[in-house]
């Protein structure tokens, strides 16, 4: 949550996150660049720019694979949410590693020619009509451009400026970018490789990404949130189904999700989508009388959908009432930040 934009709102967990990330990346590169050549029994060494380019390229692939596994892992098991918390730093770091890979390759393979090296990347091989010998570099160029755009727009300023839905759609480009990276690797270095170790790593990595996303999607559709019944006022659940300090999520007839929270024995309904990154508020909990998003900790007063002053984020609220023990919600959302009186839950209903 923010009242003004600063480059990074550092806290202890972000420092730890970045330190671990840097340690992993540094270890990968040190082993690949410094240690591995001594383990190879080649008559002549691989040229240093090629070896280094491969090191940074392979590292970027592994980083991107891990990044894309974090999201579905966190959907499948909340304990992985801390890995999601500062994932954007991981993404920005990946871009720098990928740029370093591209620099080594362009300055070596495409340099020293009368043709400008950047023009040469696009013009040296134009056999787009065949798989063998396809100009795989184009996939790398596409992926790198996407990663740079995503990195440049990763800050909350851009999310506010573009609005969360547009920002979210823009950042879905990570999936075509990852597919392009896999194609870049598969049609390039893997077609030449006689040793199949990297092939297996690429296969396992990309299959892990695909499988985890399918599992998360399956879990979501099968999921814990119920489909609200009715058209006018819709039934969400029984009041006693909602644990104190937590919420029940339901999908409304229009497709939006509502989160009905119980706080101090009172029921309130708010949008399930956090104003920050559409995080699932209903999977959060009430801390200090405020609903707290599980993704990045954005907080809202459940009675009016507003972040506590001086923060200014607002989410839609819903009118709510009890019919017997059934929790009923008006599916027409109130404008963000609209106060709605909470509904007390009679003790006999909770009993």
């Amino acid at each position: 949550m923010s009242v003004k934009y600063v480059p990074v709102q550092w806290n202890r967990n972000k420092w730890i996150y970045d330190a671990v990330m840097l340690a992993g990346v540094a270890l990968f590169l040190w082993i690949f660049v410094e240690l591995a050549p001594g383990l190879l029994s080649h008559e002549r060494p691989i040229n240093a720019p090629i070896h280094n380019g491969r090191a940074f390229g392979a590292c970027a692939f592994v980083m991107l694979t891990v990044i894309l596994c974090i999201g579905p892992l966190a959907r499948l098991d909340q304990r992985f949410l801390p890995l999601l918390y500062n994932r954007r730093h991981f993404g920005v770091m990946t871009v720098f590693v990928a740029i370093t890979h591209a620099s080594f390759i362009i300055d070596w393979y495409f340099n020293f020619s009368p043709t400008n090296k950047y023009v040469a990347v696009l013009s040296a091989n134009t056999d787009f009509g065949q798989a063998l010998g396809f100009p795989f570099e184009i996939f790398g160029v596409f992926a790198l451009i996407v990663l740079m755009i995503l990195s440049a727009t990763s800050h909350d300023f851009w999310m506010k400026f573009l609005t969360p839905p547009v920002w979210k759609r823009l950042h879905y480009l990570i999936y075509p970018a990852y597919a392009a990276v896999v194609a870049h690797v598969a049609l390039g270095v893997l077609l030449d490789a006689q040793n199949v170790t990297f092939l297996w790593i690429v296969l396992i990595g990309s299959l892990a990404v695909a499988t985890l996303h399918l599992l998360a999607a399956f879990s979501e559709t099968r999921g814990s949130d119920t489909r609200a019944e009715g058209t006018d006022w819709v039934r969400i659940c029984d009041a006693h189904d909602i644990t104190e300090g937590f919420a029940k999520i339901a999908r409304l007839p229009g497709g939006d999700r509502v989160a009905v929270f119980r706080q101090d024995g009172l029921l309130s309904a708010i949008s399930n989508a956090c104003a920050h990154q559409n995080g699932p508020l209903g999977e959060g909990k009430v801390i200090d009388c405020l609903v707290t998003c599980p993704w990045h900790g954005f907080q809202y007063d459940v009675r009016n959908g507003r972040s506590p002053a001086p923060f200014t984020e607002k989410i839609p609220t819903y009118d709510i009432r009890l019919h017997g023990s059934s929790v009923m919600v008006n599916p027409v959302a109130n404008p963000p930040g609209t106060p709605v009186d909470p509904v007390p839950v009679p003790q006999e209903v909770l009993a």
Binding site: N11, A58, C59, F110, P114, A124, L132, E137
Partner: protein, 250 residues
């Protein structure tokens, strides 16, 4: 609904005690995965081949243009015996056609970096007259010896990268670089899957003995079969390929 029994992490608050063991295991796993993949990928790189630079050499010989320039050595060194035929190129992705053509048939002094891979010897000329200049002495271009029409299987590479200026300097990942080199008039070579007259490589020309035709670029770095006339120039085999016979092999 989140599970009330599970620890709830908020980024700007201390991690819940119940989550710490899981986080420690995650951190260790993360670092181990990165280290292990770095080791696995880094230590299983393919051998880039034996090509390499052999230091600066200065020899005298006679220039012959066979689409690309070669020199038949008349006065060699300890490393380069008299009678050897060397392919010539310039620095970077540049050939030496423009520099050598005016000196065709003449005795010259050649100086530059010797690149060596098996039977393939190439000299990357130094800049200006230091690399190539007319010299005193006698010499003649050896008479070419036709070896007939052959069908070969193998790969088209640029002679300079294959000879060791880049390691690895062949394969599909290197295709764009090879195209740039050959477009810059660096002599292409055909790396045969079976030795021909004792040599694994042949300098490649077009069917008329000129530069490699466009079809050669389209087949660069692929495993192909192609027919053509082979001629021995000194101790160098030259393959004048017929581009209409190129077939990509599985």
């Amino acid at each position: 609904m989140s599970d009330p029994k599970k620890p709830f992490f908020v980024g700007y608050l201390p991690a819940p005690p119940d989550l710490r063991l899981f986080l420690i295991v995650s951190i260790v796993s993360f670092v181990v995965i990165f280290g292990a993949t770095g080791l696995l990928i880094g230590s299983t790189q393919d051998d880039p081949g034996p090509g390499a630079g052999q230091g600066r050499q200065t020899v005298t010989g006679v220039v012959e243009m066979i689409g690309y320039p070669v020199i038949h050595v008349t006065q060699g060194t300890d490393r380069i015996p008299t009678g050897r035929t060397l392919i010539l190129s310039s620095g970077g992705k540049n050939g030496a056609v423009g520099r050598a053509a005016p000196l065709e048939g003449q005795v010259v002094q050649v100086s530059g970096l010797l690149l060596e891979r098996g039977e393939l010897d190439m000299v990357q000329l130094r800049g200006g007259n230091n690399g190539l200049q007319a010299a005193d002495g006698n010499g003649a271009v050896p008479r070419p010896k036709p070896l007939g029409r052959w069908k070969l299987a193998g790969e088209i590479c640029d002679g300079k990268c294959y000879a060791g200026i880049m390691r690895p300097g062949r394969g599909l990942a290197h295709r764009a670089c090879a195209n740039l080199c050959v477009a810059g008039e660096i002599p292409p070579v055909f790396v045969s899957s079976q030795p021909v007259e004792g040599s694994d490589f042949l300098m490649l020309t077009g069917p008329d003995g000129g530069v490699m035709p466009q079809e050669g670029y389209d087949a660069m770095a692929e495993y192909i079969s192609v027919e053509g006339e082979i001629t021995r120039h000194g101790d160098l085999l030259v393959f004048a390929m017929d581009p209409t016979t190129i077939e990509v092999l599985p």
